[in-house]
Symmetry: D2
Subunit: 401 residues, 4 copies
């Protein structure tokens, strides 16, 4: 066994699945906050890969502060237009000079943002309907940690911070997460009228689940009010069928409940995101690292998106604690709910957290002692591979929001 300070404890609270009231939210990929998260993370990945490419190491950067200023639009059945463009400012730090070499950090950032937008919000014409601007301060220049192609060292924590992860997801969480992903996946592919700005709020009271969906419709593909009504109904049915794959509880789906057909007040957009109509956004205000907002669970306030994956302790620990929780639940039977918290200590290697605090709610009939050893082994193993998280973030394999 390692020297790591791992504490595995039983906890006498109920599993979230068993609590009386549960609230879960997910902001879809086209929500203004998610756009910012997505761009911040796309920029971070692009910078990390370029640094590796050019100097063989990831240099200092953080791009976790993108700000979106909403535009104004005039949607119309069959196709309206963006009247005032959206403004998006990429903010952060990046190393621009390294051993005599210039690194075009801002150009890289702009390119990554444009490619991300063109791929994820294709209805939005970059440079016309959205202005993307950038202010990257000069990073400190002295590379603090070695994370190179050939050599990897475990960095020291440079901040007191923590990360938190949970597993398994409750049914409500699964529904909310899956429904958004599949709406923005298979459903949108077949039904181009659905924009990427989909927001889901799940509420469970006892065994009754309500899912409220706000779905931005794309006017170009909605000919008239009848088509809109059909679109809303299709979304409702689709989410309903997704839900039924994850629960036997009673589920009610509510789509675009703020609509008022008589007043013609509906959720119609030109580009599929409310950013075109007055909804500002910024990084770290939406989904946590596991893709959800879960007030029933402890959460970290750290923005995970855009942070440097080599040495930003908040980012690494949020992703790693989630991975650990999932690994444990995958491999160990008898666990009903699990929370992993990792707390750093300045100056210690990050694979040696100040404390790795694991709270376990066991299934009925299972004692902590039955699982404790297995859990600790997995936690220890995952901590040992902390740089694997970094690697996968750089390769774009881990989602941060």
């Amino acid at each position: 066994m390692s020297e790591r300070n791992i504490r595995v404890e039983s906890i006498d609270r109920q599993a979230v699945e068993d609590q009386q009231v549960e609230i879960v939210e997910r902001k879809g990929i086209g929500h203004p906050d998610s756009i910012c998260d997505g761009i911040a993370e796309a920029v971070a990945g692009a910078l990390a890969r370029e640094y590796l490419d050019r100097v063989g190491e990831v240099l200092h950067f953080n791009t976790d502060e993108t700000q979106l200023v909403a535009g104004e639009a005039a949607p119309a059945f069959g196709g309206g237009e963006v009247v005032d463009p959206i403004y998006l400012l990429i903010v952060g730090r990046a190393t621009k000079r390294y051993e005599g070499q210039m690194i075009p950090a801002e150009t890289i950032a702009l390119r990554a943002a444009r490619e991300y937008l063109e791929s994820e919000i294709p209805q939005l014409t970059v440079g016309e309907e959205i202005v993307v601007d950038v202010k990257l301060g000069e990073g400190s220049g002295d590379l603090q940690e070695v994370f190179g192609e050939d050599e990897v060292s475990v960095p020291m924590a440079n901040d007191t911070s923590f990360g938190v992860g949970h597993a398994p997801l409750t049914e409500t969480e699964q529904i909310v997460l899956e429904a958004e992903r599949r709406l923005n996946g298979e459903f949108a592919e077949e039904n181009p009228y659905l924009g990427p700005d989909v927001k889901l709020m799940g509420k469970r009271e006892g065994d009754k689940i309500d899912v409220t969906v706000a779905a931005a419709m794309v006017d170009e593909h909605i000919a008239d009010m009848d088509a809109y009504v059909d679109a809303v109904e299709s979304v409702r049915e689709f989410v309903s069928s997704v839900a039924n794959e994850h629960t036997d509880r009673a589920v009610d789906i509510h789509v675009n409940t703020a609509d008022d057909y008589d007043e013609g007040s509906i959720y119609l957009t030109v580009t599929g995101t409310s950013a075109e109509q007055g909804d500002d956004g910024s990084v770290g205000r939406g989904n946590r690292a596991n893709g959800l907002i879960t007030p029933n669970r402890s959460m970290s306030m750290e923005a995970t998106s855009g942070k440097n994956p080599v040495n930003h302790i908040g980012k690494i620990y949020n992703l790693l604690s989630t991975e650990i929780a999932e690994s444990v639940v995958d491999d160990v039977d008898g666990i009903r709910d699990l929370r992993v918290r990792l707390l750093s200590q300045i100056g210690r290697p990050i694979d040696q957290p100040h404390v790795a605090d694991v709270e376990v709610v066991t299934d009925e009939g299972v004692a902590l002692g039955d699982v404790e050893g297995e859990v600790e082994t997995i936690v220890d193993r995952e901590l040992a591979d902390v740089t694997g998280v970094t690697r996968r973030v750089i390769e774009g394999e881990l989602s941060t929001f």
Copy 2:
């Protein structure tokens, strides 16, 4: 009794005070995220008061998206300088035209921001060391809710959102909150070398509390390294004495632990905030509405600062649930830990939440039935006075971060 859907439940978890590991954080008033929170809320208050003054009603606005882009500084014992100014962009929506009248929303916002900065970060010369810019989109113009001087109606919820509040504070929470307030109050008044960017992280393991303080020192008032060392020690002693007022547990205070005196690497600043040296900030990324970040407790992701206090349900419910929790604990004996969650439903008056969910951990020997009635009465009364929260926010009486 009212028709309000109030649920008071016992909960079998431990009170946070009794949990094994507890983590609590507070970003002081001069932290880049807090600067953004503070300006966003100052702007919101100024707009609300101006609207009342000019048209007798609070018109539509939201200014919850301020973004701070850090500068660069060259601090030096005795006084250095800001080399690259900080850039701060106030973002949001505001009504600029109302019944033929022009309302100078951006001028009001700039004035509020300047006054706030001059009052809270006095070392920072506005217009030289920080550029304050503003982009306020045109609000929808049609006043949705009536909140006037003479007449007040309870608005309808226009979003599905929730707020959450807790009481009483644990000892660790009290220490972290109080220490920051008094450092930035009485201590800074007597010791001008302490800048407003103070960040505290409290960690309790069992009965051992560690408080880590990162305190930005103002170079003008620090003559040399000896003075710096003395300053750090004074902060440590002060926080220690504050802590001992709130707990009998063992407390260790650590100040500026990342310093390396041999390398001359210390936390010295020109203006008293790390925003001058590469730390960006934005609204809603720091303290929750109760002034703390508490991963042991459920939290809302909603940015409270800058939101419209008349009709923004997330803001109102976060503030109100905190008020309710505090009222209950003040008035009802036998409660060890209390969580209040308010969940809105679109289209219902906000004094009629979809559910007001109160979780109670009672003291030993107290049953839920002993307190249930009293609790419900207080919740009901506070909900009935929901517009009182709005009034107090507008008057600047409630803190949002």
Copy 3:
């Protein structure tokens, strides 16, 4: 004869062609100032045409204040890169609301700018190597002049302003103007190493003409120093041959004279414009309406590019006076040099200038009386067709810089 106040006078000065020292300059289409002129005018044309399309009239706008903030680049033989992007801010006023209709002025402006850049500076990747931002204030909204599809009225002058035009061009002027156009035309088409940022300065002392050319070479198409030297020589030869088509005087061509081959200091660029390397630009700082800077001739300070072609008196009079001068010289024999100045008076129709002042230098043996009548007739006729200038500007047929 009309009532127009046309004054045709003889002038005893020498024709510019006969003066001892003559200086002529032209900033090519890729010069930072010209980029701004070009975008300002492209935006103005796009707005005018959209207004006609949407509401049948040209509404109030002025977009004559584009500002370019240079970037930083690292050119290299075979292809370098832009390290810090260029920033371009389109500034002006435009009507955004008209009779209940929203007009997406900023979106139109961004699109026009992007299309212009992609067409004229194709090496520059819009959205990566240049950020285009826009701030168009709300125009006054009340349409001051009628310039519609069906009906055209001659507007009233709303300012005291003047325009000035000259004809014929001197040999030096012809050389400078033609050489730039053909370098950026046929030559660049065959020799992609030549960037659009070509600046020519012609100086004539007596019968000796020197033309100094600063030609930005595109690194992607320049393999090495030898290729660069060849490129410079090709430009020199080309300009020399153009010059010989326009004069029998002795002409010396100097290309990239600031180069220092030994130090490797040459005029190499990534994108073909010095805007990538520290040369800022703005509207109205470069070529006058006839495409030249001619300190031997009287010039107007008015920026012609970007102004509203319906009612901006400075723009119209600068273009019209040039047209008049050219018409007169085309049609009337015996004129060696001609200057036309049009001065407006607030409140008078613009086809009735306060004074149209025509200064004629006649050929030897020709008296003013021989040409006076003809000249006046042409001036009168051209003034009568003042709205024709507007029409052609809107259709993009007139160059403004």
Copy 4:
């Protein structure tokens, strides 16, 4: 006699004073273009002095591209307000790092701009009614010219450029120049209702001079329409009396001729500048280096304001040629009109222009030979002292617009 290439020539044209039609314009200190000129030059002076102070030499910079984006205002008798703030962007290059020292170029620029605005446009609250932003690129870093406290070398020309100066001023020019200066001086001091945005256009036809004045009135000091009418009349009388000090010709003064009292359309402002109400501005679009726009005279397009006074050849030559022309006319009798043009050649010391071309119109009865020698001596002497111009610009003794 030196080796300088000085050409003194007689010219057969009329002196401007004797031409039939003359046009002269001056944009007062509060005009949007002049605000930009003034700030650009204030920033340049501040940077030059700081560089001298800190490193003993003037380092590389150019700040000649300030852009002003107009605001919106709602003036009212007795005091209105700025509704949308003005935005001003200081653009240029400056050396920020020199021999290991950081130089806070942007902080210096912001401070200089603020101080300039507070002094010259005191009605305008900086940071509320105008946002001042800054983008200064990194200068090349390698000091090209030595201009230090102890040692001064004459720099080499790094561009082919020219400057032009004239003397003496015509009566119309004197009137326009003097009237603006005294309106913004003694008159405004006694009559605070007059704002600094005063624009004068002088037109002389034969012996009839018309001066059109556009004078922005400050609403706070104008109680009602009667007060406005009185103010306009006072301005008219004052300008009239100034004019009569400079000419015996008939002079008519027209003030705010676009006013329409019946419609209540008058030139009333909150801050004394039209920048508050839709008039954008930028550097180099207004007055030439001698303070005037004179289409009867040859002019340089170079922006003089904001340029580096050590090595920017256009700035130095425009100022120097004006100084030379004035010196000659002061010291030599018999000159009716004089134009000095200085043309640089890349790589030659700037006190050795490629050509110094002096055109003289002599008084009747005076031959070129009578004055030629004296003129040449003065030109030679002034050229020898070229660095004196630099010195005086840095000390703020020379006006550039």
